[in-house]
Each structure stands twice: as structure tokens, then as C-alpha cells.
């Protein structure tokens, strides 16, 4: 079939798709400009082709300089993020996944603040059938992590996965607490590889970019877990985050069950945006 021609109306339509996916106006403008250029250079005039070009552009942003994620031992995974995004649930899913891959996994209940957060993680530890290190509600989270590290060393644990309390990135003292946790891990467990996952809820809008900036500064995030992609939100803000901060997306959450976690796949993520 002979497709539509590329015109301003079409570009506006594409812009709408990207903005509705939460990619944000500034990254969207950058992408659209890039497309305009490329279309001109490659002499592409057909609408269907420009959509492909756009998908390719987003894919490239997501894939650029990303090394594959592999498991090594010993390793510490620290889940951080704002309130209610899915940190604790993701820990349960990760533990299950890694155990299935033959790793010895331990959990540390570093959220000593939220009501019943420790009980929640304990239920996950039971489901996965892995050990958990916990203190009382209200105790110092850094010392829970400290104990987790000592126990991991003593028991030959491959992967220690640490929960932390949800915290908004603009709360100075809570972010300092996180910095301290991060320091304890580096100091007590220099031989371990540390992966800090920023857990992001796919329904989050433009604020996620600010979250990523500040969590990166405080805890040196190495990857993103994008949760709740089983809803209707596209989670496009990770494109802006990848574009601006170069933090790779590692996993996606697609439900509340123990198996509802997948390795991030840029291709299917991009095609979901354009669906």
C-alpha cells in the first residue's frame, strides 16, 4: 500500500504517542528532531517507515552502551526508591529467580520503618525458602545490612538482597541514611560486587527523572527495575532517564506473583510503546 506522507500532522501524532507514554516533552522533542534529520538524510517520505525509524531511535537510546547483566559471586543487591513502587515485592521475585539459577540467596530486612515491612519481607523469604536477617522495627537499617553482610560471609551466600524503606528523594535526612547504608556495604564487603537497583513504578510521570538523578548521586544506582508494567502505563520515563543519565533498565515487574519478573528487553518495550 502507498502510505501517508510525512507531514507536521504525522509528527504531531508521533509526539503525542511519546508524551502519552511518559517519555516527557524534552526527550520527545529530541527524538522527533532526530527523526526529522534522519528522514531527510535517508530520503524517507513514507509514514510507515518513519514509525519504524522512531522505534529504532528509542531502541538505540535504550541499548546504547549497555553491558549485559550477569550474576557473579559474592554480590550485594540493594533495592532503593520512593514509597510504594515495589521494592520489597521485587526482592521476593529476584530471590526466587536467582535461587532457581542455583545461587545461594539471603535477604536483609533494611526497611525498619514502615508498618509491617519486616513481616512482608519475611513472608517473601518463606515463599522463596531462603534465609532472612532482620532486626526490630525502628532499629538502625545500616546495622541490619551490616549483619546481613557478616552472615553472608559466614554462610557462603552468593547474593545478598537488601530491602530499604521507601523514601522521597527530596528528604535530606532519609537520603543521608541511604548514603550511610551504601558506605557500610562498600566498607564491610569490598570483595562483593554491588548492584543498586532504583525501583520505579511504570505509572510514574516526569518526577522519576528527578528521583533517578538524586538516588544516583546518593547511592550510585547501577540499574533500574521498572514495575507494574502489567497495567496500562508504558513507563516511558525510563527512556528519558537512560538518555540523560545512562542508567540501564535491568528488569520489569509484570504482576504481584513470585514469577512476575522478566529481564528487560528493549525490543518488546519499544513495540509496547507503539501499540
Amino acid at each position: 500500500t502507498i502510505g501517508r506522507k510525512i507531514d507536521e500532522e504525522l509528527l504531531e501524532e508521533l509526539e503525542e504517542i511519546l508524551i502519552l507514554a511518559d517519555i516527557g516533552i524534552s526527550t520527545t522533542s529530541k527524538i522527533i528532531e532526530g527523526i526529522r534529520q534522519k528522514a531527510k538524510e535517508r530520503k524517507i517520505y513514507d509514514a510507515s517507515q518513519i514509525k519504524e525509524l522512531l522505534a529504532e531511535e528509542v531502541y538505540e537510546i535504550l541499548q546504547k552502551d549497555v553491558e549485559p547483566f550477569t550474576l557473579t559471586s559474592p554480590m550485594v543487591i540493594l533495592n532503593v526508591g520512593v514509597n510504594g513502587v515495589g521494592k520489597t515485592t521485587t526482592i521476593g521475585k529476584l530471590a526466587y529467580l536467582y535461587k532457581k539459577e542455583g545461587k545461594k540467596v539471603m535477604l536483609a530486612a533494611g526497611d525498619t520503618f514502615r508498618a509491617a515491612a519486616i513481616d512482608q519481607l519475611e513472608i517473601w523469604a518463606e515463599r522463596v525458602n531462603c534465609p532472612i536477617i532482620k532486626h526490630q522495627e525502628g532499629s538502625d537499617p545500616a546495622s541490619v545490612i551490616f549483619d546481613g553482610i557478616q552472615a553472608s560471609k559466614a554462610r557462603g551466600i552468593d547474593i545478598l538482597i537488601c530491602d530499604t524503606a521507601g523514601r522521597l528523594h527530596n528528604k535530606k535526612n532519609l537520603m543521608e541514611e541511604l548514603r550511610k547504608i551504601r558506605r557500610v556495604i562498600d566498607r564491610e564487603y569490598p570483595e562483593a560486587r554491588v548492584e543498586t537497583f532504583l525501583v520505579l513504578d511504570a505509572t510514574t510521570g516526569q518526577n522519576a527523572l528527578q528521583q533517578a538523578k538524586i538516588f544516583k548521586e546518593v547511592s550510585d544506582i547501577t540499574g533500574i527495575v521498572l514495575t507494574k508494567l502489567d497495567g496500562t502505563a508504558k513507563g516511558g520515563i525510563v527512556v528519558a532517564i537512560k538518555s540523560e543519565l545512562n542508567v540501564p533498565i535491568r528488569y520489569i515487574g509484570i504482576g504481584e506473583g513470585i514469577e512476575d519478573l522478566q529481564a528487560f528487553d528493549a525490543k518488546s518495550f519499544v513495540s509496547a510503546i507503539f501499540q
Partner: protein, 297 residues
Amino acid sequence: MAFESLSERLQEIFKKLRGKGKLTEKDIKEAMREVKVALLEADVNFKVVKDFINSVTEKALGQEVMESLTPGQQVIKIVNDELIALMGSTQSRLNIGNKVPAVIMMVGLQGSGKTTACGKLANLLKKQGKNPLLVACDVVRPAAIKQLQVVGANVNVPVFTMGDKVNPVDIAKASIDYARSHNSDVIIIDTAGRLHIDEELMEELVNIKKAVQPDEILLVVDAMTGQDAVNVASSFNERLDITGVILTKLDGDTRGGAALSIKAVTQKPIKYVGTGEKLTDLEPFYPDRMASRILGM
């Protein structure tokens, strides 16, 4: 702040408008482009923004404005007034009648802040001389009941639970009798987080509603929500005919444009905002403050 540069840009535009004796159509269109960017950066829904800009532009291009002595001032006023009008110009309070017990039901996506909001509302009602009862209808999330019990204990409000093996509809029903026999005059039902597209779980809410006829069905929404807020809010509203919204986590630095989108698509008022994790961190909603926040001013 995240959006300083934008709000500075916006201020700049408004200043230019203010400084002009006469405005051309081009001046106004240029200003509206900036407003559009501000709204999108604040997470107001794309379609809502389009409608908003069209209607404001039309008003701004009207005779009175163009010929007024202070057209810039007029345009700014139109933007602000329209934003406030869209969000509901008056403050909305809880609407619980004389029925005993009155019933409040919390609904929303996973992690939006329902359980915390239950505790906050219980605390507030207690201070107003009520005798609330919290009802644990989340039988899905690990340790949800325990969480509600801890929250209840913190505000010194009893919690009704039948464990996690009983159907939430039956728990809700049973809680009415329990409230009557224990002198509770208002019950607050905590429900499990669910996706608006989860047919089975949405049906469960409809059945709870049928069983207990709530006075208030409050949709709890995270203020950081992006473009999807309209889909979520309209789905919950279509199924349940919600009575209002609680906007949580407004203590962050999000501009909170979801508030505007939700109001625009549901026409239901935002009744309270959550401003922290403590059970006292609940405030009435002020449309005018929210308008400035969304514009980044």
C-alpha cells in the same frame, strides 16, 4: 527544584505579557506554548492540556482581553482561573451522613497509599469526635492485615479482621454488624491494590459496594502519576462511581499534574492530600495552591 528553569521561563513570558500595552495574537500563542510545556512537564494529560490550551487561547483572544489596558495581566488571570475552575474552586469535605455506621471505602492501584490513608482518615475522624473502625479487606498483599493493625494501633483505632482466607465482600458485610455492636459510628474499609484493568478484582469492589453501600468511595492516587492517571481514574470511576480522590505523596517535589487530569476526566473532587508517611500528614485540598504548583510557580 526540578523544574526551576521552566518556571523561570514561564515567569519571564508572563512578565513580558504584563509589560506590554497591547498584545498580538502571536504574543498570546507564544505564551500558550510555554503554558503547554509547563503543563506537560507537570504530568497533566496530553489531551487535557490540548483542551485546556484551546479554551484559554479562545478566551484570551476575546475582545475584552485584547482591548483591555492590562492584557498581560488578564491572560495570566485567565490561565490561573481556568486551572482552579478545572480543579474545583471550593474545598470539599467528607460527606458522611447520619447512617450508623457511615461507610468509607478506599480503592486504588497497588502502592498508592490506601492503607496509610485509612489510618490518617481514622485519626482525623477520631479527633472530630467519631468512633472509627478500620476494616481489613486486603487479603492479597503479604502482611497487609498486619500493616493495618500497626497503623490502627498507632492512632488508637480498632481493626476488624477475619484473616486472609475469607472473601473481602463477606468481611465488609460482617464489619457492619461488628461496628454496630461495638459502638463504631464510621467504618473505613482498606482494600487490596488492584489494576483498573483487572476484571475480577474490579468486580470484587463492585460487590463490596453493593454489600455495604458506602457513603464515600475514595480513589487514592499517587501524586507522582504520569499520563496514565486518566485511564486509572476513569476506569475506577466508571465501575464504582467514586465520590472523591485522595492525592498522596505530595510531600515530594512532583508538580502533581495528575490532579488536574483526574478532576478533568472524572469531575470528582480531590478531598484530601497526603503530605508524609506520618498518620497526621493529611491535609484538605486547596485548588488554588495546586494550580500554582502545577504551573511551577
